[in-house]
Structures are given as structure tokens and as C-alpha cells.
């Protein structure tokens, strides 16, 4: 009951944030491509900045203790990599006025995925035995299905797109699908638990990232991508969902001073 009430507390601001960001980008589109480009780029930096700040807070709370501590440290690696990537993208686009794809920003985007995979694995480590073979195979099956359109597009790409662009644009949905496997397993394992809301948000975030990256691949191959394209809304949503997921976890595991002293007293009894 408490869990449901707490989830409702976060659901409203989350919904407002998601709708709000979508509306801002759509309204900016009406004002022209240059406006939407600037608005979207700045929005990416602000949101990934908040994502880094929240992840730093949770790392501070866990201080690398136990497998969850290590997991959150790895997640900070993801947040930082993507923040650097978004900042680099914006500098290329708004300061130097050059096309940021492909660029050094892609190195940082891709660098975030091994950290993300490590985060998911370390978080699941204490409960790994609950993951049945059937569950793992189902999760792999779902993720592989998501990656199929990406692989299909990679083979039928427009010759005007360079090989490097093709490889990079195809890699994103594939690595998204890979990290989606442990995320799906986590959803099932933590079902009905307090941490399930965090996990659901992270899993939905990865799903949005996959859809966004599939859209990015498609629009790159059809030469229709521009910063501020509707697929950017989905990609921004993924960062928002990750941030709310981290915030929910901070709330669950925040220090309870009133109980802390009593627990110390109970330890002293031995």
C-alpha cells in the first residue's frame, strides 16, 4: 500500500515532465529548425546533467558498499559518459556548426553501454539465482526481436550513407537490445517489490532509448534526421526515465535518522 502511494507520488511529476519536454520540442519545431536545434541540444545537456547529479547522490549514499554500491558506481559511469557525449554533440553543432554524426561524441555514447550492462549485472548479482533459464531465454528472445529491424536496415542502407555512419547507427539499437536483457529479467525478479518501480523506469528508459536509436538509424539512412526531430523526444524521455528511476531509489534507501539510533542501540546489546 505504501509502495503504491509512493509510486503515485512520482508518477504525476514524471508524466508532467515527459509531456512538458515533448511539448517544448514540438513548439520549438514550429519556430524553425534552428530554434528547435538549440532548444533540444540545451535540453539534452540539462537533463543529462540532472541525471549525473542524481546518480552522484546515490553513489554517495551507497559508497561502493556491496554489489549495489558497485552497480551505482557503474551507472554513474553511464550517466557521465552520456553527459559528455551530449555536451560534445552540442559544442560541435552549436559552436562549430558542423554535423556531429559521426564524431568523438559517439565514442562517449557507446562507452555508456558497458557501464550500463555492468550496472544491471551487479544490481542483479545478489538475486541472480532467482533468474531461471526460461526467464533468461525469454528476455533474450524479446531483445533479439527488437534488434531485428536494426539489422535489416543495416543491410539495406542508402549507399550515400558512409560505412562508418551505417556501423554506428546500427550499433546503437543492438547495444540497447543487449542491455535490455538484464533489465527485463530485473522487472520479473523485483515484481511487487519497492525497487520494482526504479527497475521499471530504468527498463522503460532502455526501451525508449532502443526505439529512439532505431528511429535515429532510420532517419540517418533516409537523410531526414535533424536535432529536434520527434525521435529526440523519445531519446530525451529515456534520460528522464533513468533520472526518475535513480530518484526513486534515493527515496527508498534514504537514511532514516529516527531508526538509525535505535538500531545502534540494538547492536550494542551484543
Amino acid at each position: 500500500m505504501l509502495t503504491i502511494r509512493k509510486q503515485n507520488e512520482l508518477q504525476k511529476p514524471l508524466l508532467i515532465t515527459l509531456i512538458g519536454t515533448g511539448l517544448i520540442i514540438m513548439t520549438s519545431t514550429v519556430l524553425g529548425k534552428e530554434v528547435v536545434k538549440s532548444v533540444t541540444d540545451i535540453m539534452y545537456i540539462v537533463i543529462t546533467g540532472i541525471f549525473v547529479a542524481l546518480t552522484t547522490l546515490i553513489v554517495w549514499r551507497f559508497r561502493t558498499t556491496g554489489s549495489h554500491g558497485k552497480a551505482w558506481l557503474l551507472f554513474l559511469g553511464t550517466a557521465t559518459s552520456w553527459f559528455i557525449a551530449e555536451t560534445t554533440w552540442t559544442i560541435y553543432e552549436l559552436v562549430y556548426n558542423v554535423n556531429p554524426f559521426p564524431s568523438i561524441a559517439d565514442v562517449f555514447y557507446l562507452m555508456g553501454y558497458p557501464f550500463m550492462f555492468g550496472f544491471l549485472i551487479y544490481y542483479l548479482k545478489p538475486v541472480r539465482r532467482a533468474a531461471t533459464r526460461k526467464l533468461i531465454i525469454t528476455a533474450i528472445g524479446i531483445s533479439a526481436t527488437i534488434a531485428i529491424p536494426s539489422i535489416y536496415m543495416a543491410y539495406s542502407f542508402d549507399p550515400s550513407v558512409s560505412l562508418l555512419e551505417n556501423i554506428l547507427a546500427t550499433t546503437y539499437p543492438i547495444v540497447d537490445a543487449i542491455v535490455f536483457v538484464p533489465a527485463l529479467i530485473g522487472i520479473v525478479l523485483f515484481f511487487r517489490g519497492e525497487v520494482n518501480f526504479t527497475w521499471s523506469l530504468i527498463c522503460t528508459g532502455i526501451f525508449c532509448s532502443t526505439i529512439g536509436d532505431l528511429g535515429f538509424q532510420f532517419t540517418t539512412f533516409t537523410n531526414t534526421y535533424y536535432t529536434g526531430h520527434p525521435i529526440d523526444i523519445i531519446l530525451i524521455w529515456s534520460y528522464i526515465l533513468f533520472s526518475f528511476g535513480v530518484y526513486d531509489h534515493i527515496k527508498i534507501f534514504k537514511k532514516d535518522k529516527s531508526v538509525e539510533d535505535k538500531v545502534k542501540y540494538s547492536d550494542d546489546r551484543f
Binding site: 549514499r61 558498499t65 549495489h68 541472480r128 517489490g193 527508498i252 551484543f270
Partner: protein, 95 residues
């Protein structure tokens, strides 16, 4: 003598629970302790007498996967199963 043995077993049970929870992270241990205190007015060592409290708290935090945490605690305690209460704890925790 019996009282002393019970206290010792209680401490061993508390240590095993603490070790497993700290394996996940200190805030996890603190969260479980806090929930036990708030919802059942008890501390980790009291789970020796009320293993069902710990099972319920772990379930409320970790959902379906709480069984594996319970399993780890059982493994830590199985060597003391010759103690009657410890045996009850091992058998009833999380069930």
C-alpha cells in the same frame, strides 16, 4: 546456560543476516533494519524469534527475488541447525 546459548544463537543469526544484506550494500541493511523497526517494532537479532518478519520485509523491498536472499541467509545458518530455534528459523524464514 540455555539463556546464554540462545543469546549466542541470536547473535549468530543477526550476524548472518547482516553479512548477507551488507553483501548487497550498507543502505540495504539499513533499509531492512528500519522497516523491521517501523513495521514490527523489532531489530535484526529479534528475527531469530520472528523469522517471518524478516521474510515479509525482504519481500516488500525486493519482490519476487526475496527468496534468493532468504536462501543465502539459510546457507549461512545451516551449520547451526542442531539448535532447535535456529532450525525453526531456517525452516520458516521467508515461507
Amino acid at each position: 546456560m540455555d539463556f546464554e546459548r540462545k543469546q549466542l544463537m541470536k547473535a549468530l543469526a543477526a550476524l548472518a543476516i547482516e553479512r548477507v544484506l551488507l553483501g548487497a550494500g550498507k543502505p540495504v541493511f539499513e533499509k531492512v533494519s528500519s522497516k523491521l523497526q517501523k513495521e514490527y517494532k523489532c531489530y535484526i537479532p529479534d528475527c531469530y524469534d520472528h523469522p517471518e518478519y524478516l521474510g515479509n520485509v525482504l519481500k516488500s523491498i525486493f519482490g519476487n527475488s526475496y527468496v534468493t536472499i532468504v536462501e543465502q541467509i539459510r546457507e549461512e545458518l545451516v551449520e547451526y541447525s542442531d539448535d532447535k530455534d535456529m532450525d525453526i528459523l531456517i525452516k520458516t524464514i521467508g515461507s
